[in-house]
């Protein structure tokens, strides 16, 4: 069903990282996600686009079981990461979330210092043997978050004092500090100005080297800029999933075409 990506030179390895099959999500009686099957590749940025309320964020939150925190939410179907069912009873959702990092729509640094924000995950997972190792982890995460140069002199300053774009990059650094394999981003630029957005987009492209990145976005231009694969959701259905270049130039489904040309959505 899916073509081999045209730009294989851009993706280092094209193995499947996440495989979802016939996923259904219900909020109470509301059937929010219907029959979604998708294969997300490693070292690839996959964009979920679609109009508001189409279920793209809901589906994203299924991938690290964040929906577990909502009482009325029910998920059916299989979601496999590296071949393991993440909804299996033996899977600890807390461990899963350390493996599948998440960045949210609004930057949400904890009311702690920049250092403690980054060290939060490594500390609760016991990733450092001593202070020096923790310092290393923090520095590496901040460098990967492309924010090290801006904050290296004020690691003890509160994270809430940074600008919006810096806060979001701090949150990305915080997410990569726990060494996840997948990075989920829920409209990470919607609260940012164009300059900060450009910085975060550049960062997303770099992160692709190490992670499978899934990004939900409202901006079709952003999806076109940062992603290699794009999935178009509409009314809880996955309408079309293909290479980004194909989706934006030659979509197969008429709904996709209507959306990307601005007639619906």
């Amino acid at each position: 069903m899916y073509d081999i990506p045209h730009h294989t030179q851009e993706t280092a390895v094209t193995d499947v990282k996440i495989k979802a099959k016939d996923v259904q999500v219900y909020y109470g009686n509301n059937h929010a996600i219907k029959d979604v099957s998708v294969e997300i590749e490693n070292n690839t940025v996959t964009a979920f686009i679609g109009p508001s309320g189409c279920g793209k964020s809901t589906f994203l939150r299924c991938l690290n079981r964040m929906n577990d925190t909502i009482d009325i939410c029910r998920v059916e179907g299989d979601i496999l990461i590296d071949g393991d069912d993440i909804y299996d009873k033996r899977v600890d959702p807390v461990q899963l979330r350390a493996k599948v990092g998440m960045v949210f729509q609004k930057p949400n640094p904890f009311p702690k210092s920049i250092y403690d924000n980054i060290a939060y995950g490594p500390r609760i997972h016991g990733m450092a043997r001593n202070k020096a190792e923790l310092d290393d982890i923090v520095e590496r995460a901040l460098r990967r978050g492309a924010i090290w140069d801006e904050v290296k002199d004020r690691l003890q300053a509160p994270g809430t004092g940074l600008s919006g774009g810096q806060q979001q990059r701090l949150c990305i650094a915080r997410a990569v500090a726990t060494e996840p394999e997948v990075l989920l981003m829920d409209e990470p630029c919607s609260a940012l100005d164009p300059i900060a957005t450009a910085q975060v987009e550049e960062l997303i492209d770099e992160l692709r080297q190490n992670y499978a990145v899934v990004i939900v976005t409202h901006s079709m231009q952003q999806a076109a800029r940062v992603s290699q694969k794009t999935a178009f959701f509409h009314l809880g259905n996955l309408v079309e999933y293909d290479d980004t270049s194909k989706i934006f130039t030659n979509p197969e489904d008429s709904r996709t075409e209507s959306y990307i040309t601005g007639r619906i959505g």
Binding site: N64, M66, T69, D71, V94, Q95, L96, R97, A98, K99, G101, M102, V103, F104, K106, N108, P109, F110, P111, K112, Y120, G121, I124, H125, T160, C171, R174, A175, T178
Partner: protein, 490 residues
């Protein structure tokens, strides 16, 4: 004219002004409300407002001022010689008022005509007899000057009320006329009514503030009076509390330290009980409980806050005290002499404070944005890790504010202490000793036959003032912390 009638008349004039002004503006506009600046109701309200508010304001001020004026006028009529040794001018004036009431009663029941009641040459024994016939309380103290003064009192009062009625009605009518004259289609009645509403709200707010000011002033004057009779250094630094009542003579020790120590000791015990339990309850309710449990448990917890403190006091006296004696008393560990102790009062007061801490903390924990929790869960933290490391630190300033509010509540608590902690002022470290607090001593200094000019009674005001300053300081600190916290998330 009875006050109620006067009040209703003013309202009737205002209602009339409303109807007339509304009709006038509609007539001027040719019954077309579209040509008016404001809705017709605003023209009516403007006229009603201008007639009722100044009139009622004058009414209130007059009612406050007249007794002062009449009392002064009557007081001048009583010669110094007519005041017996054992009484004072205040008592004689009370007698005058009582006699005047008696005359009123006699006139209204027909035992006396108005002229007889006013007759300044009336025979004193005859008047007395007629007064008792009418059922008025008559004491032997009705003397000629008192009767004269009472008669003058009645004359002045009734004249005052008549003038007041006339003035108030006149003002109401003038205001109605003013509002009516103003009523033209291009008059901005809507804006004027808006100003009126604003003034009304300001008045309501200032009454609350002025009352606080009045309370402080009433404390301040008596406190200054106390410090004139008793040295301030002995009061603030004295380690002994032993008031001797004026009847027995001798000097009293009125040092505040034992009382402050008792207050703080009991409050600390109460907070040690209330803060962990209240905080944990709040965390459970806001983070773990399902909405159904929460809807049931939160009101149940808040029922505790509605129990009168005297009931808590009984609980301390009858249940907690004896229980503690069984364990720590002579039969047990031997630390406790009687059921009334710091521990008894502190434990019960802690129970009383639980809903305070839990309810305020619950609101504050709920105000921590969900995105904080999501961020923490997204990093693979468990629920208790999230609460311990993200939610509580974020809510901490607010929680501290809640604890300080609970502390000022504990410091001001009286009934539980009276019944649970005993009455002995003592500086001791043993929490099983009986101690007492500032509030309990204020009660005991002012109840019974106390002479308000003695330091033993006036000390209550100094104690009250000290307590007021301490709790005010705590409240200000709490509000400051809570406000600082709010700025962080908005």
């Amino acid at each position: 004219m009875p006050l109620l009638w006067l009040f209703l008349l003013v309202l009737a004039i205002a209602a009339g002004a409303f109807v007339l002004a509304r009709a006038r503006v509609m007539a001027q506009a040719g019954q077309d409300r579209r040509t008016l600046h404001s809705l017709p109701i605003y023209y009516g309200s403007n006229a009603a407002m201008k007639s009722a508010i100044p009139a009622l304001l004058v009414l209130v001020l007059w009612l406050l001022a007249q007794p002062f004026y009449v009392n002064n006028a009557v007081s001048d009529m009583i010669p110094e010689s007519a005041i017996a040794d054992s009484s004072s001018r205040g008592l004689i004036l009370a007698e005058v008022r009582r006699a005047a009431d008696g005359l009123d009663l006699a006139v209204s029941t027909g035992g006396m005509t108005e002229n007889e009641a006013r007759n300044t040459r009336a025979d004193i024994s005859d008047v007395t007899a007629r007064l008792s016939d009418a059922g008025a309380i008559v004491t032997s103290q009705i003397t000629q000057p008192v009767l004269r003064a009472a008669q003058q009192f009645r004359v002045l009062n009734s004249a005052g009320y008549q003038i007041m009625s006339a003035v108030v009605l006149l003002i109401a009518a003038a205001g109605a006329l003013w509002g009516f004259k103003e009523t033209k289609p291009d008059f901005r009645a809507r804006n004027v009514v808006e100003q009126g509403v604003r003034a009304l709200l300001i008045a309501a707010a200032s009454i609350a503030i002025l009352t606080t000011l009045g309370i402080v002033l009433s404390l301040v004057f008596n406190t200054i009076e106390f410090f004139r009779l008793y040295p301030a250094s002995d009061f603030f630094f004295g380690t002994s509390w032993a008031p001797s009542f004026s009847g027995r003579g001798g000097s009293s020790d009125l040092g505040i330290l034992p009382l402050l120590w008792g207050t703080f000791y009991i409050s600390i015990v109460a907070l040690v009980v209330a803060v962990p339990i209240g905080l944990f309850a709040a965390i459970y309710l806001s983070e773990y409980a399902s909405s159904r449990v929460r809807a049931f448990a939160k009101p149940m917890l808040e029922v505790l806050a509605g129990i009168p403190t005297i009931v808590y006091g009984l609980f301390a006296l009858l249940t907690v005290g004896p229980l503690l004696v069984q364990v720590f008393g002579d039969d047990g560990l031997g630390w406790m002499q009687a059921g009334t102790a710091v521990m008894t009062a502190g434990l019960v007061m802690g129970i009383m404070l639980i809903p305070f801490v839990s309810s305020l903390s619950d609101d504050i924990i709920n105000a921590v944005p969900q995105s904080m929790r999501d961020g923490s869960y997204g990093l693979g933290a468990t629920q208790s890790e999230t609460i311990r490391q993200v939610v509580i630190p974020a809510a901490l300033p607010g929680i501290v504010g809640a604890i300080l509010l609970a502390a000022s509540r504990a410091i001001g608590e009286t009934m539980i202490v009276v019944l649970g902690a005993g009455a002995a002022a003592r500086l001791s470290l043993n929490p099983f000793d009986a101690m007492t607090t500032v509030t309990a001593k204020i009660v005991s200094q002012l109840t019974g036959d106390s002479d308000f000019a003695s330091p033993e009674a006036l000390v209550a005001f100094a104690l009250g003032m000290t307590l007021f300053v301490i709790t005010l300081g705590l409240n200000v600190l709490a509000l400051y912390i809570v406000r600082k916290y709010r700025e962080q998330y908005e």
